[in-house]
């Protein structure tokens, strides 16, 4: 009973995942089951729409655009979006319906991604998919989870799009396109000038054009054939946050197909500092500073004490000199002006004979 009570009590502490849960491949179970309980979730006020290009051919690349808009978000403005094959709750991943992901909106190969929404309160995410091998009608759904600006109960706000029914047509047997075995590269390391390898099918030639994110001018990349349907594409190295968009036209004697726009980002240089290194370095700096500063203190303070002592000694001598007055008629004797009596001059004591 105690265990059950403890488990029930702890459930309130595990609602939602403020700050996101990270991109991954997930069934709707995560968004539907965890957030399906009305005490843990609420309806999103946002709108979700899905769009695809007109003609979708089996076993060929297709771009799916999901737009989320008009949501009231939390202060971090994060929204998590699923692309699903159904709303069953489980086994509803795209792969369960024959789709495969070439590239997700963040450059990976996940059906669930998180993104930060700008102040325009609208975001469009694009998945590049391989359509199923068999023709026919297929449904796609988008689902989103997000927080809310006034969300004291930490509820997950969820929204689901209407289904988008896609008529996947049987492709001509020699339609040129990407190979089903190819996955678009997500990132390149900064300064990496290694060529991107593209794998195609039914293709005699390809043309690749690239442009930097946010720019309109397209450059034509140099392409060389490694072996049949494997191509090496020369795209310049990137640094920092640079993202390159590239489009591929696959051609053979009969067809020329413009493939969906792909993206390759620049990975951040992994930070290699360890906790031990940080602690040792910090302690080393502290001891060096203490050693240096305390030595300076000693250097400045000791002569100061010495000069103070010398000063007080000389002052005493001057005072003593003023008090004791020599007299030419009484060599070896000094007149003490305060005590009004003769005292022996220690520097020049009187001769016994003279006394």
């Amino acid at each position: 009973m105690v265990i059950i009570f403890a488990l029930l009590s702890s459930s309130t502490f595990s609602v939602a995942n403020p700050g996101g849960n990270g991109d991954s491949n997930r069934d709707f179970t995560c968004g539907g089951s965890c957030h399906g309980d009305p005490s843990l979730s609420a309806d999103s006020d946002g709108v979700l729409t899905i769009e695809v290009q007109k003609n979708v051919y089996a076993s060929n690349a297709v771009a799916v655009h999901v737009t989320a808009s008009d949501m009231t978000l939390s202060s971090n403005r994060i929204v998590g979006i699923f692309l699903l094959g159904s709303l069953n709750g489980n086994s509803d991943h795209l792969s369960d319906y024959g789709w495969s992901i070439i590239q997700d909106p963040n450059g990976g190969i996940n059906n669930y991604v998180e993104t930060t929404v700008s102040s325009s309160n609208s975001v469009t995410l694009t998945w590049i998919l391989f359509a199923p091998d068999d023709g026919g009608n297929y449904n796609l759904y988008a689902q989103m989870n997000h927080g809310h600006i006034s969300n004291s109960d930490n509820l997950a706000y969820t929204g689901v799009s209407d289904p988008l029914t896609i008529d996947v047509q049987i492709a001509p047997s020699n339609l040129p396109g990407f190979s089903e075995n190819w996955v678009a590269p997500e990132y390149r390391t900064p300064g990496d000038s290694t060529n991107i390898i593209l794998m195609t099918k039914n293709t005699d030639s390809i043309q690749v054009k690239w442009k930097l994110e946010g720019e309109w001018f397209e450059n034509t990349a140099t392409v060389s054939l490694i072996e049949k349907d494997i191509w090496s594409v020369d795209i310049p190295p990137t640094f920092g946050d640079t993202v390159i968009h590239y489009s591929v036209i696959t051609s053979n004697g009969n067809f020329s197909i413009k493939q969906p726009l792909l993206t390759v980002g620049t990975s951040q240089v992994e930070f290699e500092g360890s906790l031990l290194e940080a602690r040792l370095q910090s302690l080393a700096f502290a001891t060096i500073i203490i050693g240096f500063m305390t030595t300076l203190q000693l250097y400045f303070f000791k002569p100061n004490v010495k000069s103070d002592q010398q000063k007080s000694n000389s002052t005493e001598t001057i005072v003593a000199n003023k008090r004791l007055v020599k007299h030419p008629d009484h060599p070896g004797w000094l007149w003490d002006t305060i005590e009004n009596k003769w005292v022996i001059d220690s520097d020049n004591p009187p001769n016994e004979g003279a006394n």
Partner: protein, 198 residues
């Protein structure tokens, strides 16, 4: 259960508050050795003694709390506590801040309030505490950068680098640590030697 992050926030507030008081009092202690041209700003002897003691106590409390602040800060970071340049720099600047505050305290405790009487040592103490405070607010600023992605120091035209760091190998750090400890030890021995000769 109160999280480490909450403890960290509370301890940091005590640390920064105490050290801010200390640096203000120490700057006013300049009047022990340097006379001000304006009589109105001059502090009485009693007030200066109070400033000296307040500065000492503030620095003492701040320096005692600083290791706790570092410890709770490390605990409150999820994942690798030094997973980025910012966090790594937090360790380094904490070390520098601790070094300067400890130097100030060592000087003040060993030499007493007499340290303020000489112009050279007075200036050295004030510069030490200003440098210590600069390092301290740099550490606090890194905290702001991590949590809110901004800090008050963003308003400054220039500051110490926060997003770039130098990682020294543990071997070199150990060597520096040995040099630092040795120099402190030699300094103490020299001091004793000078005292015994006098």
């Amino acid at each position: 259960m109160v999280s480490a992050a909450t403890f960290h926030a509370a301890i940091v507030e005590i640390t920064i508050g105490s050290l801010t008081l200390a640096v203000i009092c120490n700057i006013l202690c300049l009047q022990f050795a340097f006379s001000l041209p304006y009589d109105r700003l001059k502090l009485s002897e009693n007030m200066l003694i109070t400033m000296d003691r307040a500065g000492l106590m503030g620095a003492l409390l701040g320096s005692i709390m600083m290791p706790f602040a570092i410890f709770t800060g490390t605990l409150s970071v999820s994942g690798n506590p030094v997973g980025s340049e910012l966090l790594y720099n937090k360790f380094l600047y904490s070390g520098l801040a601790f070094g300067f505050w400890a130097s100030y305290l060592i000087g003040r405790i060993r030499m007493g309030s007499e340290i303020w009487k000489s112009k050279k040592t007075n200036l050295l103490q004030v510069i030490t505490s200003i440098l210590a405070f600069t390092m301290t607010i740099t550490v606090a600023s890194i905290g702001g950068k991590i949590v809110r992605n901004e800090s008050i120091l963003d308003l400054m035209p220039f500051w110490f680098p926060l997003n770039t760091t130098i990682i020294m190998s543990p071997l070199i750090s150990t060597l520096l640590l040995i040099i630092g400890v040795s120099s402190i030890f030699i300094m103490y021995k020299l001091d004793d030697l000078i005292d015994s000769k006098n």
